[in-house]
């Protein structure tokens, strides 16, 4: 047998973290929650796809040569957001029967004459007529111009300068940010609970006395937060990966770069938020000795998270408002508000580092002060420990 060696702090923290991961990964509630979250994401993508596929679609039959008409029809379709499929038909009779059978929404006959007709079942809806009219007009215009000797056409392209730029893309980014922030909220609550339960389990089973005979309280605390943090981050990345991957694969979003950027910022804020809330949850849990008492000590922190989520969602509607702006700096609230503001594109460059730094400072304070409370409260395995008692005990 090899001789026991002295363990560094890092080695101890790693040991604790590894135990947390291996215990939790086999835990039923963890597995179930992971599956549920992934199902939710997949479900919502499916829902989006279903809604989108209900969009405008049109099959247009053309009698005769379709080589020049097909691109024109398709281009016109794109302009009015109709997915056009062009079907080649042999003659008028075929066109009639195709329309009658519902094979096509409309059939264009005598397209190369001066009086083209659109055969439809009862009436042509606006977009169908617009598409066909536009295509035919464009073709005939270029033909006439060519006959007049104008071969290259210099048409000025209209530049679009919207008063509310990128509003549609913004919308998508904001929706993505809201989903991301809600996910972040859910995972923070879930893993906060895991951490709290773990701390109380160690206290109520008294195993903590054995643990503290081999390591310092902060090493135990760090190991737990790190272990569950890695697990939570892994889950977050998997879920977001599935979400973003699915959204891109099924074309739910227009600008892939935007949603990826939003996803990255949500993950980054998750890391910050996790360090902050996990410490608070662990420290709060260290004050009680029974799982039954957990609810009361976790309640204030949970409420803060709920408030943060509500503000975050509200910020989606009013990203530049005072409430959203101020709360996006406040440590603890910022992880749920800032990603939404970032997605809305209303954030000045200096604002993000400021919020991050404030958050880091707050986390450092919590870890320091909380570590003392944790150390002071851990060995008081009877009943509830008052915060102040734990603080003085930790100092003694």
């Amino acid at each position: 047998m090899t001789e026991p060696r002295t363990l560094s702090s890092a080695a101890l923290v790693r040991l604790v973290a590894a135990r947390e991961i291996s215990t939790r990964i086999r835990d039923k509630s963890f597995i179930i929650s992971s599956v549920v979250i992934i199902l939710l994401i997949v479900g919502s993508i499916g829902f989006q796809v279903a809604i989108n596929s209900g969009g405008a679609e049109s099959r247009i039959g053309v009698v005769g040569d379709i080589s020049s008409l097909r691109p024109a029809l398709e281009a016109q379709g794109k302009a009015v957001a109709v997915d056009v499929t062009v079907v080649e038909l042999d003659d008028d009779a075929a066109a009639r029967s195709a329309v009658k059978d519902g094979d096509v929404d409309g059939a264009l006959v005598d397209a190369d004459t001066s009086s083209p007709r659109l055969v439809v079942q009862d009436s042509a809806d606006g977009s169908l007529r617009a598409v066909v009219q536009g295509a035919v007009a464009q073709l005939s215009l270029s033909e006439q111009l060519a006959r007049a000797g104008v071969s290259t056409l210099d048409v000025p392209e209209v530049a679009v300068s919207p008063l509310d730029p990128d509003s549609e893309q913004n919308g998508q980014r904001i929706v993505a940010a809201i989903i991301g922030v809600s996910l972040l909220y859910g995972l923070l609550i879930l893993f906060g609970q895991f951490i709290a339960q773990g701390v109380v389990e160690e206290k109520s089973s008294r195993v903590v006395e054995l643990l503290l005979a081999t390591m310092r309280p902060w090493q135990l605390l760090a190991g737990k937060i790190l272990g569950l943090g890695v697990l939570a981050l892994g889950q977050m990345v998997v879920v977001i990966g599935v979400g973003v991957g699915g959204a891109l694969a099924f074309d739910v979003v227009d600008v892939p770069g935007d949603i990826v950027g939003t996803a990255v910022s949500v993950v980054a804020w998750f890391v910050l938020g996790f360090a902050f809330y996990a410490s608070i949850f662990a420290v709060a849990a260290s004050l009680v000795s029974r799982q039954e008492d957990l609810g009361t000590v976790l309640m204030p922190t949970t409420l803060v998270l709920v408030v943060a989520l509500v503000i975050g969602i509200q910020a989606a509607g009013d990203p530049g408002g005072t409430l959203a702006t101020v709360t996006s700096y406040v440590p603890g609230l910022s992880p749920l508000v800032m990603p939404v503001r970032q997605a809305a594109g209303d954030v000045a460059l200096w604002e993000i580092p400021l919020a991050v730094v404030l958050m880091l400072i707050a986390t450092a304070l919590i870890v320091r002060l909380g570590g003392r409370v944790y150390a002071g409260a851990l060995l008081r395995t009877s009943g509830k420990t008052k915060l102040r008692e734990a603080l003085t005990a930790g100092r003694a």
């Binding site: 090899t2 060696r5 054995l210």
Partner: protein, 303 residues
């Protein structure tokens, strides 16, 4: 040498330890006795760094205990503590790793101890599914698995049936034979008497007696002489000089001799009454020593 030196501790206004000190030689077993609330657990917790002493220190081989030295101590807390949902084998291996064993060695040592304590077939069970006695064995395995240099066990025998007591005693004696100093506290004084090379009796935060059991006996014995004279008159010893009759019942007489009086004079007097079936200095039991020591302490609990 494991030395506890001048430990003082107060919780608020309650003085729990008031200069507790004793030493345990390598390879010897030290029984730590005392009534409830005497401060045994606090003393052990100070050694394990779970409670900070107001004054005094605990040394192992001349070095004050720190985190590194403590990692070489096998500890069994009074309040048993294990992860209830963790499997026996994994749990013991985890504690081995926390004490510095490499993963492979930890798994091997865990297997070995679980087997040695008769839990081989429960290796894959969660601890909470075991009986209390078996959980106690797991606890012991967790304390022994890292081949500690020192063992500090708080009430290791409480809650065990006689067979469990015997196997635990055997395990502890085995450790002591390998040169490990073993300190354990117990209320079962007969057990302490049987197992320990030396004992310490703690009362109200002070060591009132400490040393090898034999020495304590000699020191604390006084001069009690038991003489059984079946044919004697009940008052046969009343008139002997320097002798006080403690008790007399059908010739079974317990006598306390004043310093300087000669036991041979008593023997002669006894022989004069007829047959003497028993004549010996009486060895006080540890229980009597304990009562004596604890009751002799002046009532001066700090206010």
């Amino acid at each position: 040498m494991l030395e506890f030196d001048g430990l003082h501790k107060s919780f608020g206004t309650v003085r729990v330890l008031d200069g507790v000190g004793f030493a345990v030689a390598p390879g010897s077993m030290f029984g730590f006795c005392g009534s409830n609330g005497a401060g045994k657990t606090t003393t052990m917790r100070i050694a394990m760094g779970l409670v900070r002493a107001d004054a005094g220190e605990v040394r192992w081989q001349g070095r004050e205990l720190d985190q590194d030295v403590r990692r070489r101590i096998g500890y069994m807390p009074e309040e048993r503590g294990l992860y209830p949902k963790m499997k026996v084998g994994e749990q013991v291996a985890y504690f081995a790793k926390l004490h510095g064993l490499a993963p492979a060695a930890a798994a091997k040592a865990a297997d070995e101890w679980i087997g040695r304590l008769g839990l081989a077939d429960r290796r894959g069970d969660a601890v909470e599914k075991l009986s209390l006695g078996n959980q106690q064995r797991v606890q012991l395995a967790a304390a022994l698995v890292s081949r500690p240099d020192v063992l500090i066990l708080d009430e290791p025998f409480s809650g065990l049936d006689p067979i469990g007591v015997d196997s635990l005693a055997e395990a502890l004696l085995g450790q002591a034979r390998e040169g490990v100093p073993v300190v354990f506290s117990s209320h079962q004084l007969d057990l302490v008497e049987r197992l320990c090379d030396s004992v310490g009796i703690l009362a109200r935060g002070r060591m009132v007696a400490t040393g090898p059991v034999e020495e304590l006996r000699r020191r604390e014995a006084g001069r009690l002489l038991r003489v059984v004279v079946p044919d004697a008159d009940p008052h046969w010893a009343d008139a002997l000089p320097g002798v006080r009759v403690v008790s007399e019942q059908a010739g079974d007489t317990l006598l306390e001799l004043a310093p300087g009086s000669d036991d041979q004079d008593v023997l002669a007097a006894a022989l004069r009454t007829g047959r003497v079936s028993h004549f010996a200095w009486r060895q006080p039991t540890l229980v009597e020593l304990f009562r004596e020591a604890v009751s002799a302490t002046p009532e001066e609990v700090a206010a």
